[in-house]
Amino acid sequence: MHELLRQAGRAITPGTYFGWGEVTIQSGNLVIIIAMLALFVLALLLPFPGGRSRK
């Protein structure tokens, strides 16, 4: 029971936030957005393996 309460207390920590003026974003959300932007750019730039041999 004490272990569950200790874990519950750890679960409700607010996390890390970044802010610029009016904009505030939680670190996890920022990481996801940056990762999606990186995937978008890499999808356009990276060559597709075996692409030249395809029809």
């Binding site: 519950a8 999808a43 597709f48 075996g50 692409g51 395809r54 029809k55």
Partner: protein, 235 residues
């Protein structure tokens, strides 16, 4: 019912069944989605690009979501909150959702800048948007099902917004049983149906070509063997 009498039909199979709804439906379906379009063996050369993998990435993530979700729902929160395997599957379910949304958003960006609604693909675009919106609602009900302080907080913050727009009586986020039914049955059925329709429409119309390949869309518009003789007739 088999037809044992009468002469053999002279028209090809595609032309029969003009007077029954089953025959008309079959003819319509075969015209819209012939087997070579439904399960093609190859794709145009421009599909060999990372820009074309994120849709199927989202579908793969959705399969993991459904698989892990089935196990979680059968065992319940008293299992996935306390056992090691339960924690693992709970996390696998969460991270499948994270990947599902990441792939879906990148897919959306790429298709938006490709103007993927071109060439009669408006319904494909619309079903994709509906799939995105229904997935957001499904993910929201998943947050409510964590059965921890987070989900309690989210439910009691969200109920005021839902009451304000007048749906609180039917969609009560503080009612765990109701949210459970929405999350494990109604919304997954909706996501699955819309995603299936989206994929079938992609098969029917073909993957959208890049903007600079729009004039050479012959393989998509006309499956092999049925291309018109006059190339100038092509869109």
């Amino acid at each position: 019912m088999n037809r044992h009498t009468g002469p053999a039909p002279e028209t090809p199979d595609l032309e029969t069944g003009l007077y029954t709804w089953t025959g008309k439906s079959r003819r319509w379906l075969l015209k819209q989605l012939p087997p070579e379009k439904l399960l093609p063996e190859d794709q145009p050369s421009y599909v060999a690009s990372w820009a074309y993998v994120f849709g199927m990435g989202a579908v793969a993530a959705l399969i993991f979501i459904i698989g892990s979700g089935v196990v979680l729902s059968l065992n319940g929160p008293q299992w996935y909150h306390v056992s090691g395997l339960g924690h693992f599957l709970n996390s696998a379910h969460l991270w499948s959702v994270e990947l599902f949304f990441m792939f879906m958003v990148v897919h959306l960006w790429l298709k938006f800048w490709m103007a993927a609604w071109r060439g009669g693909r408006v319904l494909t675009w619309i079903t994709g948007m509906v799939a995105f919106l229904v997935s957001i609602v499904t993910a929201f009900t998943g947050y409510l099902l964590q059965t921890n302080f987070d989900s309690q907080w989210i439910a009691f913050e969200a109920k005021d917004a839902l009451n304000a727009v007048g749906v609180g009586a039917w969609f009560n986020v503080a009612n765990l049983g109701q949210v459970f039914m929405w999350h494990i049955m109604l919304l997954p059925l909706a996501v699955g149906a819309v995603v299936a329709l989206h994929v079938v429409l992609v098969r029917a119309h073909g993957v959208v070509p890049p903007l600079d390949a729009a004039e050479t869309d012959a393989q998509l518009k006309y499956p092999s063997g049925s291309a018109p003789e006059n190339e100038a007739d092509q869109p």
